[in-house]
C-alpha cells in the first residue's frame, strides 16, 4: 500500500495538514532545517518544491521563492541530498515533490523517480502536466511500479467528464485547487467550495485535499471540517521570505505558525 493511502486509512488523522515550501530558499542547507522544523511541529504530509524558472501556476510569493532558490546553483544532486536529510529526520511523514514537468523530463523520468524514491519521496504533484497526455500516462505507470503516487489537480473549472476521466490515473489524494488563478493567500473562497469537495469525494474514491489561498488558522479549521486535508504554501513561503536572513527567527516563526495551524485542524 502506498504511504499516503496508509496515512489516510490509518485513522490517525481526521484531516491532513500539508505544508509546502521551495527547496533551496534561501539556500539548500537552511532548507533542511526548515523541513525538520515543519516536520517537528505537525506536518502530516510535506510537499517539497523543486524550483523551476517559469512557474506559471504560482503567484508572486512562490515565484520570488523560486527565484531566490535559483540564485543558488540548481542541481538535482542538491535536491536529492536535501530531501534525504529531511526524510531521515522523520521517516514516517510522507514527502511529495511539487514541480513542473520540464525539470523531471530533462532529468529523465526513470532516473528522476529512482532517485526521488531513494530520497524518501512517495508522490508527485505536477501543475503543468495534464492527466490526458502521453507523458502523464508514462509517469503514472512508472510511479505505480515504484509504489509512488501521482497526485492530480482538480479545479473549480474541471468538468464532470474530466473528473471521471482522471480517476483512472490518480492515486494518493486529489489536490483540489480552491480558486481560479495562481497560488497566493486569499481572503475569500468560492461559495460552493464545500459542495465541490463533496461532489469530488463522491466521484473519486480518494481523499480530497484543498489548497491555493489558505493561510489563516480560521480558514484551515473551517475547510478541514469538510476536506480530507489542507495545503498551505504561500503563507509559509512568506515567513521564509520575511525572516530568511535571520535564520533563528525564521525557524522560530515557522515553528509557531505550523503548530498553530496544526492545532486548528481536527
Amino acid at each position: 500500500m502506498s504511504k499516503i493511502k496508509d496515512l489516510f486509512e490509518s485513522g490517525r488523522i481526521k484531516s491532513a495538514f500539508i505544508p509546502y515550501f521551495t527547496l533551496g530558499d534561501p539556500n539548500y542547507n537552511d532548507s533542511i532545517e526548515f523541513g525538520k522544523t515543519i516536520l517537528d511541529h505537525g506536518a502530516d504530509i510535506l510537499e517539497l518544491g523543486i524550483p523551476f524558472s517559469d512557474p506559471v501556476a504560482d503567484g508572486p510569493v512562490i515565484q520570488r521563492a523560486v527565484a531566490r532558490s535559483l540564485k543558488n546553483q540548481f542541481s538535482f544532486d542538491e535536491i536529492f541530498r536535501v530531501t534525504k536529510e529531511i526524510h531521515h529526520h522523520k521517516k514516517e511523514t510522507p514527502l511529495v515533490y511539487l514541480t513542473y514537468f520540464n525539470p523531471i523530463y530533462h532529468c529523465g523520468i526513470h532516473s528522476f523517480l529512482d532517485r526521488a524514491k531513494e530520497a524518501g519521496v512517495v508522490g508527485l504533484v505536477i501543475p503543468d502536466l495534464p492527466f490526458d497526455t502521453k507523458e502523464s500516462e508514462t509517469l503514472f505507470q512508472e510511479l505505480r511500479k515504484r509504489d509512488m503516487d501521482l497526485i492530480h489537480l482538480v479545479t473549480p473549472a474541471s468538468t464532470k467528464k474530466r473528473i471521471e476521466a482522471l480517476k483512472r490515473t490518480s492515486t494518493g489524494f486529489i489536490y483540489y485547487v480552491t480558486s481560479f488563478g495562481v497560488t497566493g493567500e486569499r481572503r475569500e473562497f468560492s461559495v460552493d467550495l464545500k459542495e465541490r469537495i463533496r461532489f469530488l469525494k463522491d466521484t473519486i474514491q480518494l481523499p480530497i485535499c484543498a489548497g491555493f489561498g489558505i493561510s489563516t488558522p480560521e480558514q484551515a479549521s473551517q475547510i478541514s471540517g469538510y476536506a480530507d486535508g489542507i495545503i498551505i504554501g504561500s503563507a509559509i513561503q512568506r515567513i521564509i521570505e520575511e525572516n530568511g536572513q535571520d535564520f533563528p527567527k525564521a525557524k522560530q516563526t515557522l515553528a509557531e505558525y505550523i503548530a498553530k495551524i496544526r492545532a486548528s485542524i481536527p
Binding site: 524550483p51 523551476f52 524558472s53 517559469d54 512557474p55 506559471v56 501556476a57 503567484g59 515565484q63 527565484a67 535559483l70 540548481f74 542541481s75 538535482f76 513542473y100 514537468f101 520540464n102 525539470p103 523531471i104 523530463y105 530533462h106 532529468c107 501543475p127 503543468d128 502536466l129 495534464p130 490526458d132 497526455t133 502521453k134 492530480h152 489537480l153 482538480v154 479545479t155 473549480p156 473549472a157 474541471s158 468538468t159 474530466r162 485547487v177 481560479f180 488563478g181 495562481v182
Partner: protein, 396 residues
Amino acid sequence: MGKNQPGYFGEFGGRYAPEILTEALEELESTYQKLKKSKKFKKELDFYLQNYVGRPSPLTFAERLTKHWGGARIWLKREDLNHTGAHKINNAIGQALIAKFMGKKRIIAETGAGQHGLATATVGAMFGMETVVYMGAVDVQRQNLNAKKIEMLGAKILPVTAGEATLKEATSEAMRDWALNVSTTHYIVGSAIGPHPFPTIVRDLQSVIGKEARSQFKKQNHKLPHAIVACVGGGSNAIGMFHAFLKDKHVAIYGAEAGGLGPKPGEHSATLTYGKTGFLHGTKTLIIQDEGGQIVPAHSVSAGLDYPGVGPEHAFLSQTKRVDYRMVTDEQALDCFLEVSRIEGIIPALETAHAFHVARDVAKDLGKKKDLIICLSGRGDKDVTEVLRLLGERSK
C-alpha cells in the same frame, strides 16, 4: 490527447497547461473548429483583413537589393504595409473575432517587440473590448514607441519585472492572468506557441501570408520561387509564410533565428540550433535550457525574437529538415537593417533584418535567374531609437 492526435506536430506540441485552463482551451478548440467551417466567420475575417488591415499586402520585386547582392532575384512579401506595421495584426483580428464569438469581453496579450501588443490594443479599440497587455519592463524601455501607442489606444500595459523582464516573463504573466479571469477573458497568444489549439489557430490565421505570396508570385512569374525566407521568434510570421509552400518540395525554405552575441548560453535565442526538447508555456517544443532543466534566459537585439522557446511546428520542421534554420548575430542583423534601408528604401524591423541576412547568403548560393521571397514581417519604426543607441555604442 495522444501522440498522433490534433495539436501535435510529430512529437511536439500538445497541451501542457495548468488544469484551470483546460476548459477554456477546450472551448476555444471546439469554437474554432466550428468557426473554421463557418462561411459567415470567413466572410467577416476577410472583410477586416481587406478593409482594416489592408490586405492583400503587395509582393514587391526588390530591384536594387537584387543588383546589390548580385544573386537570386529578391521579392518582398510586404507585411510591413499592414495596418500597425507588422504581420501580428492578421492574428489579432482573427482571435478577437473568435473571442467576440465566445462572448468574451476582455482580451489580454503578451508582447516583446510591442507589435503584438499594438495589434491587440488596436483590435481591442476597434471592437470595444477591455484590453490588457503584458510587456517585460526591459521591453517597455527598448520598444517605448510601441508601449506608448498601446496606451494611446486605450489598452493597459502591465510591465513585468520578474526574471529577465522580457517576452518569456510577459508570457508567464499573461497565462496567470488568464487562469484568474478565464471565464471573461480571451488570451490572444501572439505567436505560434502555447498550448493546443494556439499554435494551430495562429498558424491558420497567419497562413494568409504564404497563400497570398504563392499565388501573387505564380501570377507574375508563372512558376514558384526557388526559396523563401522568414525570421523566427515564436515563429508566427514564418509558419504563416511557410505553410502554403511546405508541399512544394522543390521550394527551399529557410528560417532565421537570433544568434545574438554568440553561442554561449544566455547570449542568444537560437532555439532550433541549441534547444533541447522540453515543456514551456503549455507546449512541448525545443527550448534553451541548462542541465537542470531550467530555462536559460534568451538574448537578441530584437525584442521580438528574444524568447527561449519556439512554436512546436517549427521544432518538427527542423527535425524533419524540411526547413533549414540558420542563426544570425545581432551585428549581422544590424548591418542588414542599415543596408536594406539605404538600398531599398524600406526600414525593416530588427526581427526581419535577421531574415534579410539569411536571404543574402541564400541568394548568393542560388545565383542569378533564381527567385527568392523574403517575408518582410514588419517595419522598423519601433526600432529606430534602439538602433541609434546601438550604433552609438558601436562607434565608441
